[in-house]
């Protein structure tokens, strides 16, 4: 690497994350990069990170959202390909302020033909606030050239779909979300089932797999007690069960050949889910597990 090579570093795919303070910009970016929830301190001015996806480098410009920094958003628009505007869906008291700030950047986006992607974040806290309400309250119907997605950077709800959209707006290329599991089930340390999610919303199916292959595989595995270990059980009828023990939980994922993805991708996905659940310390409040796993599984099925 030569001297000043940093100057040549391309910012071809520059994405500018804007939105009020506390809306969740930094949390969204780190979730997209790491696949799990990470807590941040408020962003002091701006924070630059990058990530490579399928050989394409993405430059994230995470802008501070406090009133002191909002002026800086405008100064960063020049070589930006996509502006992400993050709204905290649960903070309806600040919708007016959020709408005002969005209003200030819209003319520049129009002039420079920069695409706008709105993240309606914190869906976990306010599932009742739907996109229709946000479109009305922010008068988005008058804007052309924008897209909106509903996400939670805490539970992971909708993050993969949001990323697929973000990536195509930013790079003009399509990536497809892959289904990595036919079913996923989480157990406590002792092997007691806490929740099961399957690709279909079929309760009968859930019940069947819970009572069937999953449970017998888990019962065998629960006895091993080795943390952060994993094992695969093949079942002739169902497919392959990947089972993984994290610090406080056991997770199982059903992989089938017709998913058309390599089994190690599913294994990696299960590991990420377990890391995510451990970060959120869900074993301490088991009643929330079902909801949290359901939200995260929007990325996997």
């Amino acid at each position: 690497m030569g001297l000043f090579s940093f100057l040549k570093r391309s910012t071809k795919n520059k994405a500018l994350f804007t939105g009020l303070d506390h809306s969740g910009k930094s949390t969204i970016i780190s979730f997209l990069q790491e696949g799990r929830f990470v807590e941040h301190v408020p962003t002091m001015g701006k924070d630059l990170t990058e990530m490579e996806v399928q050989g394409v480098r993405i430059n994230f410009f995470d802008m501070g959202g406090q009133s002191h920094f909002r002026q800086m958003w405008l100064g960063e628009m020049d070589d930006t390909k996509c502006v992400v505007y993050v709204i905290d869906k649960s903070d309806t008291a600040r919708f007016k302020e959020a709408k005002q700030e969005l209003g200030k950047i819209l003319p520049i986006l129009k002039k420079k033909q920069i695409k706008l992607l709105i993240f309606a974040n914190k869906h976990d806290l306010a599932p009742e606030v739907d996109l229709g309400q946000i479109i009305t309250e922010f008068e988005l119907a008058n804007i052309s050239n924008f897209e909106i997605v509903e996400v939670s950077a805490k539970t992971g709800y909708g993050m993969t779909d949001a990323f697929v959209k973000f990536y195509s707006i930013l790079t003009g290329q399509i990536i497809r979300k892959s289904v990595v599991a036919s079913a996923i089930s989480i157990y406590n340390e002792g092997g007691v089932p806490l929740t099961v999610q399957s690709g279909g919303d079929d309760e009968e199916f859930n019940k069947k797999i819970l009572e069937g292959g999953f449970l017998s595989a888990i019962t065998a595995f629960a006895k091993t007690k080795i943390k952060n270990s994993s094992v695969k059980f093949e079942s002739q009828d169902d497919g392959t069960y990947i089972i993984l023990r994290s610090d406080n939980l056991i997770g199982a994922l059903l992989w089938k050949e017709d998913l058309q993805i390599p089994i190690n991708v599913s294994e990696e996905a299960l590991k990420e889910l377990m890391d995510h659940l451990e970060t959120l310390q869900v074993h301490k409040h088991e009643e929330e597990i079902s909801h949290l796993v359901q939200q995260y599984c929007t990325n996997l099925m």
Partner: protein, 168 residues
């Protein structure tokens, strides 16, 4: 800056922060002892530089004065705050060694649940005094001994101090 200020380890210190709650903004909370041209406007970008993240050192200048800043997190129920403590360092101060002391002090305050804006502001004069005298900094029930950290790490805070010791 007077001769005395130049020869001290640190001549002035400031506490600043960016709180995690909704609607906060960067602020300089205390400058001790007060310096005329150190206003929030003139030093905010030096004590809380753009892009600053917790547990890092930053160095900037104000005319000929060198400012060393250390950032950290202040634990809160919701999102944590970003805090910073800054020092105007003397001309003979060995900055790398001062960093070791500051980092250790902040860590000890954190471990003793004393790392918050109120305590930092209240004890800023004691911190400056302890650094300059290379003695104990007493913060409530916590005692941080600058001299023993220096000894344990086999380091000095100022250039020429070993030579000086040998001479007398």
């Amino acid at each position: 800056m007077s001769e005395e200020e130049m020869s001290s380890v640190v001549s002035c210190s400031m506490v600043s922060g960016l709180e995690g709650h909704t609607g906060s903004n960067p602020m300089v909370l205390k400058v001790h002892p007060p310096v005329q041209d150190f206003t929030e406007e003139t030093i905010i970008s030096k004590v809380l530089p753009h892009g600053a993240t917790p547990y890092k050192f930053y160095i900037d200048h104000m005319d000929s004065r060198k400012i060393l800043v250390y950032t950290f997190e202040i634990h809160q129920d919701g999102r944590n705050d970003l805090g910073s403590i800054g020092f105007v360092v003397g001309k003979d101060t060995i900055i790398d060694n001062l960093k070791i002391i500051i980092q250790a002090l902040v860590k000890e305050m954190e471990d003793n649940q004393l790392l918050d804006f109120t305590t930092l502001q209240a004890y800023l004069p004691k911190i400056i005094e302890g650094l300059n005298k290379q003695s104990k900094i007493k913060i409530e029930k916590m005692k941080f001994d600058v001299a023993s950290v220096l000894r344990n790490n086999k380091i000095e805070l100022q250039l020429g101090s070993r030579k000086a010791k040998g001479m007398f």
